[in-house]
């Protein structure tokens, strides 16, 4: 992987791997065309700020959003061990409208369950960007607040709020399912009060967030697909 950062002169290109640079290819029918993988494979559209239009209607909608939290089933760290108890008879988060979804497109909440390795952070950001706004981030465990136990690790981030806007932190190592439920309640309060505008914040400060992300994620390659 050492060849990634050869081109250090051009600041833009510093993190670009060979396969992500613009190039011309010859198609199977002999026609030459240029592809820009970053444009073709990645979403190059900046997120836009979407403000609520009608205050009264928005209040009702926010209530609906708060009571229907669809959580992306992405266990990023050790905290995910407490997610199954959360959904099973003892704690049963479904009572409060918390349901798990398998795909980021349909989810509205992403739980960052504990420490984030750099490799996971890249996937988390991609998942987060695939979610449709309004979207909320629930950060679990001390590791997302200040690095926690892994404050001196070379591979885990220290502060999550530098990479994505966080709505609610649930402190502890590891937080109990009750703490998680309390976190969900706090999130509901925030949504109902109209303060959970993380998606807009992300859109507003998009360049800052992206710069922070690019600082640590040095390999922006995404997996190769043939579809």
């Amino acid at each position: 992987m050492s060849d990634i950062n050869n081109n250090t002169n051009n600041k833009e290109d510093k993190f670009l791997a060979e396969e992500n640079k613009k190039r011309t290819v010859i198609g199977p029918d002999g026609i030459e065309f240029e592809i820009d993988p970053l444009k073709d494979y990645f979403c190059d559209q900046k997120p836009e700020v979407r403000d609520p239009k009608n205050k009264v209607v928005e209040k009702f909608i926010n209530w609906a959003r708060a009571e229907s939290l669809w959580v992306l089933g992405f266990g990023t760290g050790c905290g995910s061990i407490e997610i199954p108890p959360l959904l099973t008879p003892r704690f049963d988060a479904a009572r409060f409208g918390v349901q798990m979804r398998a795909t980021p497109r349909q989810s509205s909440v992403i739980i960052i369950s504990g420490y984030l390795a750099v490799k996971t952070l890249k996937r988390v950001i991609r998942s987060y960007e695939q979610m449709q706004s309004p979207k909320y981030v629930l950060a679990l465990g001390s590791c997302t607040i200040n690095g926690g136990m892994y404050y001196d690790s070379y591979n885990t981030i220290n502060r999550l709020d530098y990479y994505m806007p966080v709505d609610v932190y649930v402190a502890g190592c590891m937080p109990r399912p009750e703490a998680l439920l309390a976190g969900f309640n706090k999130l509901k309060e925030r949504i109902k009060a109209g303060r959970a505008e993380g998606a807009n914040e992300y859109a507003e400060k998009f360049d800052w967030y992206k710069a922070n992300q690019k600082k640590i994620i040095k390999d922006w390659n995404m997996p190769d697909y043939n579809w």
Binding site: M1, V118, G147, Y151, S153, Y154, N155, N221
Partner: protein, 177 residues
């Protein structure tokens, strides 16, 4: 156990035999002979279970220690084989042909210590890290705290105390050591 050690003593150049437990010995072998010693132990002495392969960085002596731990599940004995390689030219013969999972260990060592195992399958592919451009992180001269502070925006207000120093200062201010 003793007979096995005595037997391989006659065939290979081994030294520093340490009896850790009744059924567990450590010994040091020369770099060139290590793979053939492992092959011998596997095929002749029945050490069919490969437990682990790992490296220790003795930076003061400029050497890497590679430790292979083998296990004989029938006789229930273990043997740990140490071998020392130069830190500068960190290469070692690959043993991936003996067990399939040795290749994984070697892949990890290549990534985390920078020890090369020529011929080992997928050894150059990244295993754990992604886009790593510093020196291999498990080497002793890599300072993880410094790297973390420079890279990951540490939250202000967090202080870390060395418990020894802290307790000394707090509880025993007069004590010398």
């Amino acid at each position: 156990m003793k007979s096995i050690i005595n037997d391989i003593k006659t065939r290979f150049e081994i030294s520093d035999i340490v009896k850790q437990r009744d059924n567990f010995n450590f010994l040091t072998c020369k770099k060139e002979q290590t793979v053939s010693l492992i092959t011998h132990l596997k095929n002749i002495e029945g050490f069919s279970h490969f437990v682990l392969l790992t490296a220790v960085d003795w930076i003061e002596e400029g050497k890497f220690q590679l430790t292979y731990i083998l296990n004989n599940p029938d006789k229930k004995i273990d043997i740990g084989i140490r071998t020392f390689i130069e830190r500068e030219t960190a290469t070692m013969d690959s043993a991936h042909h003996l067990w399939e999972h040795v290749a994984t260990y070697q892949r990890e060592l290549k990534e985390m210590f920078g020890i090369d195992f020529p011929g080992s399958p997928r050894v150059d592919e990244s295993f754990i890290l992604e886009g790593w451009d510093d020196i291999p992180p498990y080497r002793r001269d890599f300072d993880t705290k410094k790297y973390s502070e420079e890279t990951f925006f540490p939250r202000e207000g967090r202080t870390t105390n060395d418990p020894t120093e802290y307790m000394k200062k707090k509880l025993y201010p007069d004590e010398e050591k």
